[in-house]
């Protein structure tokens, strides 16, 4: 007898696709927005129920679509980790939409507002599918849906800059998905399977017999590189700062917080459910991911230090934070995976908080985007200032905030027994240098927004700031909720880490 909650993953994908279709009929932006937010709330509850039920029983389950049995039919699968991540994604998307409301109204034409929410619905559907899918080709198809929706929300603010950013994003994404698809095709021609449960024994057998060793290394590399390009791992990150820095606030928040993570989840599934982490390590792919992750952590921070544009600075910080995730994955151990998943959740809340608060600070400074003009913005809009401070300090790694726990669990995973010493030294050095660099650019930015005195004037002496700024209610709700979650993640990380560790074992 199937337990009823096992239907929920399918419901989530279905509801979000259905909302996307219904939204095409709604021409009123406000109603479309309400529908999308309601859909996200419902999906968050459904995924939360799945997470708690599976975690309480310590099980994972498979849901065969249309009741076709395994080798023919398509399957969804969920355990605590997948459902937890899906819940996080719903919440973050909802908060980002709430927090970016003011900018959305300004940046997008009123008659096109509903189109923006269609893309959000599709994005949610593809993220759920990436979380829950058990089939490589379905994964590929939803990667592409995700890409097209993500590109559309970048170009929603219809300026020359954003269209240029979109086309660069599109080209890099297509390179990534092409390489990934080629890897999947090779795996399919070797094993004859696309479903992960059937692939796993086939790949294990290949490793045991030692057959097809080079093709396996090549295709594992291609899948990892393909997904790494899409999730902006150094040196494939070149598209990210312009795309995330120039889009409207809600888009930047969703892209940085959620979209990058969708691809990483598929990568985690490939590493755990098609191969095993040890096999990926033995192919040498793990070491490559580790080194690139460490480079990203340092390189992204260096560029963030040099960036005068506030949103682009935060976007470069995303490059560094994605590096943390890949560092955890590259260790190729269960602890490393768990640390990477914790970082996914921590960053999913912290980065949108930063983007949303920066959006508020920029609005309070007469739409000036350079950090120089944000002087005293925290005093003009205290809510945004507090959000930025909490997010920035979390990125630096202040104890009791989410970013600190990430660094702690990553460091612990790197110090575990069985990790080669060069990997251990590289990881710890990268974490140390990156934290230092984070402090170097976040602390001055935080001081800058709380500075007193007159707001800076433009080059011609013109004043950008006219009177005090009143943030709208939804912005306040979003910033308060995300700040609270960042603090909670930092203070009560232990139960969550236990849940993740048990969930990774069930993957």
């Amino acid at each position: 007898m199937r337990l009823f909650y096992e239907n929920y993953p399918f419901f989530c994908v279905f509801i979000s696709l259905l909302c996307g279709i219904l939204t095409t009929l709604i021409h009123d932006g406000k109603k479309a927005r309400a529908l999308t937010l309601a859909m996200l709330a419902v999906c968050a509850v459904l995924n939360g129920v799945v997470c708690f039920s599976t975690a309480a029983r310590g099980v994972s389950f498979t849901y065969s679509m249309g009741a076709f049995p395994a080798p023919w039919g398509n399957e969804l699968r969920s355990g605590p980790v997948e459902a937890l991540l899906a819940t996080v994604f719903c919440l973050v998307m909802g908060f980002s939409l709430l927090g970016g409301e003011a900018d959305l109204k300004e940046d997008i034409l009123p008659e096109k507002q509903n189109l923006y929410y269609i893309m959000m619905d599709l994005l949610a559907a593809s993220l759920f599918a990436l979380c829950f899918t058990n089939d490589m080709f379905t994964g590929y198809v939803f990667i592409e849906i995700n890409t097209i929706a993500a590109c559309s929300i970048v170009m929603a603010k219809d300026s020359g800059q954003t269209i240029v950013a979109t086309i660069r994003y599109l080209m890099m994404s297509l390179v990534g998905s092409g390489v990934f698809l080629f890897g999947v095709s090779m795996l399919y021609t070797i094993t004859g399977h696309l479903l992960m449960p059937s692939l796993f024994p086939a790949v294990t057998r290949l490793f045991r017999t030692g057959a097809y060793q080079y093709p396996l290394a090549v295709l594992a590399g291609m899948m990892c590189v393909g997904l790494a390009v899409k999730s902006a791992l150094f040196p494939f990150h070149t598209w990210l700062p312009t795309a995330h820095g120039s889009a409207t606030t809600a888009s930047s928040a969703v892209l940085s917080g959620v979209v990058l993570k969708g691809y990483i989840i598929l990568l985690i599934k490939v590493m755990c459910r098609v191969f095993t982490p040890e096999e990926i390590g033995s192919l040498g792919v793990g070491s490559v991911l580790l080194v690139l992750g460490a480079c990203a952590m340092i390189y992204g921070s260096i560029w963030a230090v040099r960036e005068p544009h506030a949103k682009r600075m935060i976007a470069y910080s995303s490059v560094a934070q994605v590096g943390y995730i890949y560092l955890g994955l590259g260790l190729c151990t269960t602890a490393g995976m768990a640390a990477a998943i914790f970082q996914i959740i921590a960053h999913a809340f912290t980065k949108p908080l930063l983007f949303v608060s920066t959006g508020g600070l920029i609005d309070a400074s007469g739409h000036q985007k350079k950090l120089y003009y944000l002087r005293g913005a925290g005093r003009r809009c205290p809510m945004a200032g507090v959000g930025f401070t909490v997010g920035g300090l979390s990125m630096v790694g202040l104890p009791l905030l989410a970013g600190f726990v990430t660094k702690l669990v990553l460091g612990r995973a790197a110090l575990a027994e069985g990790i080669p010493s060069w990997q251990m030294i590289l990881s710890l050095t990268a974490i140390a240098i990156s934290s230092l660099l984070n402090a170097w650019y976040y602390l001055p930015a935080i001081l800058q927004i709380w500075k007193g005195g007159e707001a800076p004037a433009g080059p011609g002496g013109e004043a950008y700031v006219h009177g005090p700024y009143e943030a709208c209610l939804s912005f306040r709700i979003a910033v308060v909720c995300m700040s609270v979650v960042v603090v909670l993640l930092g203070c009560f990380a232990q139960p969550l880490m236990e849940l993740i560790t048990r969930g990774v074992a069930l993957l």
Partner: protein, 131 residues
């Protein structure tokens, strides 16, 4: 290994070899061409290469498409080639076509705005208009 053996191996894997060459041509074109239009065309090359690779995996020389025209004849598996890769390729083609359309629409938009197809020139102009 002598040249004959290599040639024989290439002949036996001619579809795979052709698709890898096409794939690299497409990938290089997407990364290094400066013209947006050529980038979109290169994307088509890359996707076609993957489709060639997949279809050749399902195709068996001398076998038929798995369609039972006459219900009276009992079907045996040995007569037919593998239909699943063709299904995958169909899905892939749909994805590829929609991305080509999206890419071309963006290119057209940029051309109307900046009167150029060269990505470097467009980026320079966009940068200027921002400052």
């Amino acid at each position: 290994m002598d040249i004959n053996a290599i040639l024989q191996m290439l002949h036996a894997n001619r579809f795979e070899a052709a698709s890898v060459i096409l794939f690299v041509v497409g990938l290089g074109g997407m990364l290094f061409n400066r013209s947006l239009f050529k980038k979109v065309v290169s994307m088509g090359f890359m996707d076609s290469a993957i489709f060639l690779f997949l279809t050749s995996a399902g195709y068996v020389e001398g076998r038929l498409a798995p369609i039972i025209a006459d219900p009276a004849v009992t079907a045996t598996m040995e007569v037919y080639s593998h239909p699943l890769p063709a299904g995958l390729v169909l899905t892939g083609i749909v994805v590829s076509v929609s991305f080509t359309a999206f890419g071309l629409a963006l290119t057209q938009r940029l051309y109307k705005k900046y009167h150029s197809l060269n990505i470097d020139e467009i980026m320079m102009q966009a940068q200027k208009s921002e400052d």
